[in-house]
């Protein structure tokens, strides 16, 4: 074993070591076979890049990189607080501008002005100009609002005063009329002009009685809800020595202080004495009553009324002019609002990113680090060049690739079709960097398993039509903001499209069109035993022709033995499909880690693959063997004779061999992996010490954040992990296979529901021979089908197909502990903005 220094000096040896290291990395990534690369099967190759950007072109560079949207920047200033960062003040400015924009938005919605979604695209505006403009607009708007409020306050006060004048005037006028009437009754020769308030019975003194008795009054408005309480308290406080008259106003008046419309009553309180006056005044203030002065003199009253009316109309004109001015202002804002919003948002995000870059000591350049896919290198370099040119800086940006051991983020290049399927997989867990992606197969198997549970070509056609409609309106819907449920349906439109197409296929196989079978592919294989069909209800039909060529024979529907037959068929089908999918899962694990798939294959296929074989053999030969019996006694007494349960020759030997192989497979799953990993770790460490030395000058930062998870290797931990994995697999083999029986369960539920709706609603309504009942029946049938079968069953089958994929399929091979690639991109920011 050559020493370290010897190997370092020998260049050829070094080359060999490097090559071996690279081969090992490649093997670890691609598992065993070197299959040609397939889109979407593994996540994109990523590398860590380092950009050294001169300060004058920093802003523009980040802006162009945001347009491309293919770099995920790393936060190099993570230890600093938000206030310590370089561009904190800029972000604060952007925050201020956002606040102003939000204020404008509020004002516009209050005034009922809608902002145009597509604003006039003016030339690029600079942040400072925009800031100044927003500032002055805000000041103007605040001023206009304040003026408006003041004017409104004055207006409502005057309105109230006018009402008081009118109504109280009526009080006094009525009083005068009745007083003069009474006067005429009692003493007809008294002059008509000496009037007293009618409320006084004491009419001995003729002239101004109020002056003699010093009767005062208070007029005002009190809110209707408080009117009774007001009256009661005044009565109590003054010991009943006052008189209160109230009249309710029919319309609500705008209260000057609160600005709301309130139902009010006009009241007049008559009292004598100063003490009572002060009490009444205090009580009115407590009740927030608006008091207004009032003169008894009739002439002055009319004069006041005309004066007030004049002032009211003036005020109204002023207020309207003010509102109009505000309206034009807001409209002007509304036109440009969207564009301003976007600019501010964009700038804010650019400064956020700039804050993440670490600033060099000389303050002349910024250093950025980030993940980016390898294929985007050219694009990024072009953008950097463009930014350097546009900002007329003298130095270009430096672009370097760093070597690191950290786990890169996972990035799948999906189009709008595969995006939703990948989202289904990601919802469970984002794939680890470059592990086999189940999304590839999910595109087909997910809609297929859904269809196995949904199987009705009538319902499938309905779903297809609905989805085609949504897809045809794709462009329109993608611009709009949809409700939550519609958003989910729209996002998954291609999934639902495939689901409906497969449903039509499985519907044809199950031969169900809204639960009605049709003989579309030829005649049914069954017929009566004799011409009279006498024993068709006891012994049944008999198979006279070849098997019905495509799907379930239409003769089965409605018979007594339909359920036993279909149940047996569907249960066995579920097992067969389940074993097939689980095998696919195990084979995918081959692409992730070589050795563990062989014992797993042996175990699963030795038991459940054998069961599948027995099912097919029983169908093919038509024997009456009891499969339960065979499987159970294979374990309980494997050496016993099979007797009538024999399906093929040497079955006993085959079963014994399979049992033995399965038993061997269990320790094979458990033991080798920990030891092999241990040996690998040892050899890797020996090579790594060499790699350390010559990578030193390559990476500046790579060393500092080297992951330590492959430095430590706890053997006991790995062993326990493998033990758990083995037990999970062995027990899971039984439970997962049984779990696939939900394919049978749901398809049974679907066909039974559909049959019930058809027979008990539609046929029942048909039987009455009445048009109205028929129409009602059809409507009920349509609603029941749409609500229960098309919506609820779809969701239910979707959910169960999802579960089968996430648990039974993916736990055979999927690790799913990666993290998603989130690049800095303006397009993504806009989407987030709209959804928030």
């Amino acid at each position: 074993m050559s020493t370290l220094s010897d190997t370092y000096k020998d260049p050829i040896n070094l080359e060999v070591l490097r090559r071996r290291q690279r081969m090992r990395q490649k093997m670890a990534k691609h598992g065993g076979g070197c299959i040609p690369p397939m889109d979407l099967f593994r996540s994109e190759a990523m590398h860590l890049v380092q950009l050294i950007v001169p300060i004058e072109s920093a802003h523009l560079t980040v802006s162009y990189l945001g347009d491309i949207g293919l770099i995920q920047f790393k936060d190099l200033n993570a230890e600093k607080s938000p206030f310590q960062r370089t561009y904190a003040s800029q972000i604060k400015r952007c925050g201020e501008m956002t606040r102003k924009l939000r204020f404008f938005n509020d004002q516009m919605s209050k005034a009922g002005i809608t902002r145009s979604s597509k604003s006039v695209a003016r030339a690029d505006m600079h942040l400072e100009d925009l800031e100044a403009k927003l500032g002055e607009l805000e000041a103007e708007l605040i001023e206009v609002n304040a003026n408006n409020e003041k004017l409104q306050h004055g207006y409502s006060e005057l309105t109230e005063y006018k009402l008081v004048l009118q109504k109280a005037g009526e009080f006094f006028k009525d009083a005068q009329i009745s007083a003069s009437a009474r006067q005429k009754e009692i003493s007809p020769d008294l002059p008509a002009e000496s009037l007293a308030t009618p409320l006084l019975k004491d009419h001995e003194s003729s002239h101004d009685l109020s002056k003699q008795v010093r009767l005062g009054f208070v007029t005002g408005l009190v809110p209707k809800e408080k009117a009774m309480a007001f009256e009661r308290i005044i009565f109590r406080a003054t010991r009943g020595n006052v008189l209160l008259r109230q009249v309710a106003l029919e319309e609500a008046v705008v209260d000057p202080t609160s600005g709301q419309k309130v139902q009010k009553n006009i009241f007049v309180v008559f009292f004598s004495g100063e003490r009572l006056k002060s009490k009444i005044v205090k009580i009115s203030e407590a009740f927030a009553v608006n008091r207004y002065p009032f003169t008894e003199d009739m002439g002055k009253q009319t004069q006041m009324i005309t004066e007030v009316s004049g002032r009211l109309s003036e005020l109204k004109m002023t207020i309207e002019a003010g509102l109009q001015h505000r309206g034009t202002l807001l409209r002007r804002i509304g036109e440009q609002y969207e564009q301003w919003n976007q600019v501010v948002h964009k700038e804010k995000s650019i400064y956020h990113i700039l804050n993440m870059l670490s600033i060099d000591v000389t303050k002349k350049c910024l250093v950025a680090e980030g993940w980016s896919p390898k294929y985007a290198t050219k694009k990024i370099q072009n953008a950097l060049q463009q930014a350097a040119i546009d900002s007329s800086s003298q130095v270009g940006t430096i672009f370097r690739v760093l070597h690191t051991k950290k786990l890169p983020p996972t990035y799948f290049r999906t189009n709008k079709f595969t995006e939703s399927f990948q989202a289904i997989v990601d919802a469970y867990g984002v794939a680890k960097y470059q592990e086999a992606n189940p999304g590839v197969f999910t595109v087909v198997t997910f809609p297929f398993l859904f269809a196995v549970m949904f199987g009705d070509w009538g319902h499938g056609i309905c779903l297809l039509l609905a989805t085609l409609y949504i897809i045809s309106k794709e462009k329109k819907f993608s611009g709009q903001k949809l409700g939550d449920i519609m958003e989910m349906a729209f996002g998954g439109r291609y999934v639902i499209l495939l689901m409906s197409i497969f449903s039509i296929y499985t519907g044809l196989i199950y031969n169900e069109f809204f639960s009605v079978p049709f003989a579309l592919f030829g005649p049914s294989a069954y017929a009566c035993r004799d011409a009279s069909c006498s024993d068709s209800t006891t012994v049944g039909l008999v198979k006279v022709r070849d098997t019905y060529p495509f799907g379930v024979d239409p003769s089965w529907h409605g018979t007594r033995s339909e359920l036993p037959f279909l149940n047996s068929l569907k249960m066995k089908m579920s097992i067969l499909l389940g074993v097939a999918q689980m095998n696919l899962g195990i084979m995918l694990s081959f692409f992730n880690a070589l050795f563990q798939f062989i014992p797993q294959m042996i175990f699963l296929n030795g038991l459940f693959g054998y069961l599948s074989l027995l099912i097919v053999a029983k169908w093919y030969t038509g024997s009456k063997a009891d499969l339960y019996h065979i499987m159970i006694y294979m374990f309980l007494s494997p050496t016993d004779d099979l007797g009538e349960n024999q399906l093929f020759e040497n079955q006993k030997t085959v079963q014994l061999v399979l049992l033995l192989l399965s038993l061997i497979a269990v320790p094979w799953m458990l033991l080798p992996k920990p030891y092999i990993l241990k040996a690998r770790h040892k050899t890797r460490h020996q090579d790594e010490s060499y790699a350390l030395l010559d990578d030193n000058d390559d990476s500046l930062h790579g060393e500092a954040d080297r992951d330590s998870d492959d430095q430590e290797f706890e053997f006991s931990e790995v062993f326990v992990h493998q033990l758990i994995h083995t037990i999970e697999f062995v027990l899971g083999a039984v439970s997962n296979t049984a779990s696939y029986l939900r394919l049978w369960a749901l398809s049974l539920a679907h066909s039974e529901l559909s049959a019930v709706f058809y027979e008990k609603v539609l046929l029942l309504a048909w039987g009455y021979n009445n048009v109205i009942i028929l129409i009602v029946g059809i409507i009920v049938f349509i609603f029941a089908t749409a609500g229960v079968l098309l919506v609820m069953e779809t969701l239910s089958a979707f959910l169960h197909a999802l579960r089968l994929h996430w648990v039974e399929f993916q736990n055979k091979f999927y690790e799913g502990d990666g993290y998603k690639f989130r690049p800095f991109s303006f397009a993504l920011l806009n989407n987030e903005d709209e959804s928030s």
Partner: protein
């Protein structure tokens, strides 16, 4: 015989579909491989389902027993 014949039909349909996929959307070797995988998976799934239902009816152990017509 019907079984083998129809299986052959499925194989032919599968080949035709993959050729169509290759002609319509030819976007480079890795994308082509993806399309091929999807088409083959779909064909295999559809064939399996048909084959299971067909095999189950080839040698039936129970026959349809009509229910009493009311």
């Amino acid at each position: 015989m019907g079984f083998l014949l129809t299986t052959l039909v499925f194989v032919v349909i599968g080949i035709v579909a993959s050729l169509c996929a290759r002609i319509c959307c030819n976007k480079g070797p890795s994308a082509n491989l993806l399309h091929l995988t999807l088409v083959i998976t779909a064909t295999v799934c559809c064939w399996m389902m048909w084959a299971i239902v067909y095999l189950a009816q080839m040698n039936p152990l129970i026959v349809p027993i009509l229910s009493e017509s009311e």
